[in-house]
């Protein structure tokens, strides 16, 4: 991969830092009076998701990271690996480890497209779509006559996620969920 100098650091650039691929969020030039210039850089570690800051001397460089974000459909899992397929018509499949799946494991549904981050052609992160439609597999019976206002109750969805839903929701219904907040949006 190419090397990138501090003046090429911009939001979205993927670089290697301490052995991990990182995505640059912000890059600020700090130059006191007459002296040496520095760049204060905010980065997200793509392996851990953690955001950190690091100061570089201006002109320092980092190796680029071979990172790609691709759309892939979830296929199935064998409880060791989770399998996804590219949606570009190539039918190429990728096996994803549980660690890379992280929180997304509870939002998995066959044939839904996910954003899979590949580093050196290995999946390191899977992001769900912002909204996903899932079936309720277990919840207390719905209350007749109850409307949108009022209390909520836990419901287990087909993907395994448990979300708070209104009291009138019944088992078997399909709900629209915001995966970023884990909140019920509406009936699908």
């Amino acid at each position: 991969m190419a090397n990138y100098s501090t003046n090429e650091f911009k939001g979205g650039l993927k670089v290697m830092l301490d052995g991990d691929p990182c995505s640059i969020i912000e890059n600020e030039l700090v130059k006191p009076g007459k002296g040496q210039a520095f760049n204060r850089v905010k980065l997200r570690n793509l392996m851990t998701g953690r955001v950190g800051e690091r100061t570089f001397k201006s002109g320092d460089s980092l190796e680029g990271a071979d990172v790609m974000e691709l759309e892939m459909e979830y296929l199935y899992n064998d409880s060791e690996m989770w399998y996804f397929m590219k949606t570009d018509g190539s039918f190429e499949q990728y096996a994803v480890e549980k660690k890379a799946l992280g929180e997304t494991e509870k939002w998995l549904k066959e044939q839904v497209p996910y954003t899979v981050t590949l580093w050196n052609d290995n999946a390191i992160h899977v992001a769900p779509p912002n909204f996903i439609e899932l079936e309720v597999v277990e919840t207390d019976p719905g209350l007749k006559g109850d409307t949108a206002q009022g209390g909520s109750k836990p419901a287990t969805l087909s993907s395994g996620a448990v979300v708070r839903v209104p009291l009138f929701i019944n088992e078997g219904e399909v709900l629209k969920i915001d995966t970023r907040s884990g909140e019920y949006v509406s009936r699908a």
Binding site: N7, P32, G33, F38, R54, T55
Partner: protein, 326 residues
């Protein structure tokens, strides 16, 4: 359709900017300081190790040769002083490669002026008067700090006497960087990092902060003198408002031999660091040889002052077109 053709400043801001520049000109007219214009290109450039000069090849009457885009109008203006111009000011387009960000633009406008016969203290007074004139709503006090005192207050170290290991340890800590990143660096790099990252953001809060007595190693084109503690310091000041460095002034070096030695030291340091050498400005050295009147000069980033006057978040908000969309 892409909107990148549009100016980065609004037309209303450009009107305000023009109004502020007009008041800068009135300020100097009232004080009998002559407005001058000098070339953007020069046969010599800034040797300063921390500035990256742009240059271009041009066909001249002496053949195809390299000309340097000026990082400030300093050399040409000093040649005018040596020729007997008296006090002069200029709003000069200046160029510093690689400097792009919220407070930097690769090309920018420098307000630079020279005052033969002024002491550094006289020039500090005039600079703060100009800033007050441009920022009529700013009523904060002018507070003076010594460089050393700032390091004592904010970092509990002494920039002159604390060990290099102590300075490196602090730089690594505040820079959130691995120790190896600073392992080879000298005192000035550590001090620059701490100044830029820790101290500068604290300066100019509801006041104009004037910083003096910088280490002698950071003198650039200023004289050096021994301060009250017996340390050799640069006869230089910096002015800060809202954590932003606005101006840098010198009691100007007038000794041609000393100036030549500093240019050569800079180029030696450039060789050591593997940086390209910059042609010394022989015209400036000849002018100093001829004799430049003693006095003080200051460079003020007028774009930043306009930015502060208009309460804008980024420098590009007061530039017609910033470098990324030039």
């Amino acid at each position: 359709m892409t909107e990148s053709w549009r100016p980065t400043a609004s037309i209303e801001t450009l009107r305000e900017r023009a109004r502020l520049l007009a008041s800068v000109r009135r300020f100097f007219a009232a004080r009998d300081v002559l407005e001058v214009e000098t070339p953007v290109l020069g046969q010599g450039g800034s040797t300063d190790v921390h500035l990256v000069s742009l240059s271009t090849m041009a066909r001249t009457d002496r053949g195809h040769r390299r000309l340097w885009l000026q990082t400030s109008p300093e050399f040409h203006m000093k040649r005018l002083l040596a020729a007997g111009s008296g006090p002069i000011f200029q709003l000069a387009r200046s160029f510093r490669d690689g400097e792009v960000g919220a407070r930097h633009n690769l090309e920018f406008t420098m307000l630079e002026w020279y005052r033969p016969g002024f002491t550094l203290a006289d020039l500090i007074d005039e600079t703060t008067a100009l800033v007050a004139n441009i920022l009529p709503r700013f009523h904060g006090p002018v507070t003076h700090y010594r460089y050393r005192q700032l390091f004592h207050t904010h970092l509990a170290v002494d920039p002159f006497t604390s060990s290099l290991e102590t300075l490196r340890r602090l730089a690594v800590e505040y820079g959130q960087m691995p120790a190896r990143a600073m392992a080879e660096e000298g005192r000035d790099t550590c001090l620059d990092l701490l100044m830029g990252l820790v101290i500068e953001p604290q300066l100019g809060r509801n006041e104009l902060s004037v910083v003096v007595d910088y280490p002698a190693s950071q003198a650039a084109l200023a004289r050096r003198h021994q301060d009250a503690d017996g340390e050799w310091v640069a006869s230089r000041f910096e002015l800060y408002l809202n954590g932003i460095e606005l101006a840098n002034g010198y009691d100007e070096l007038t000794d041609a031999a000393e100036q030549r030695a500093r240019f050569m030291e800079d180029n030696a340091e450039r060789r050591r660091l593997g940086l390209p050498e910059v042609d010394m400005d022989e015209h400036l050295l000849a002018a100093l040889e001829h004799g430049m009147p003693e006095g003080a000069g200051v460079a003020l980033g007028i774009d930043r002052l306009v930015q502060l006057a208009l309460g804008k978040a980024r420098l590009e908000d007061v530039l017609s077109f910033s470098t990324p969309n030039c």
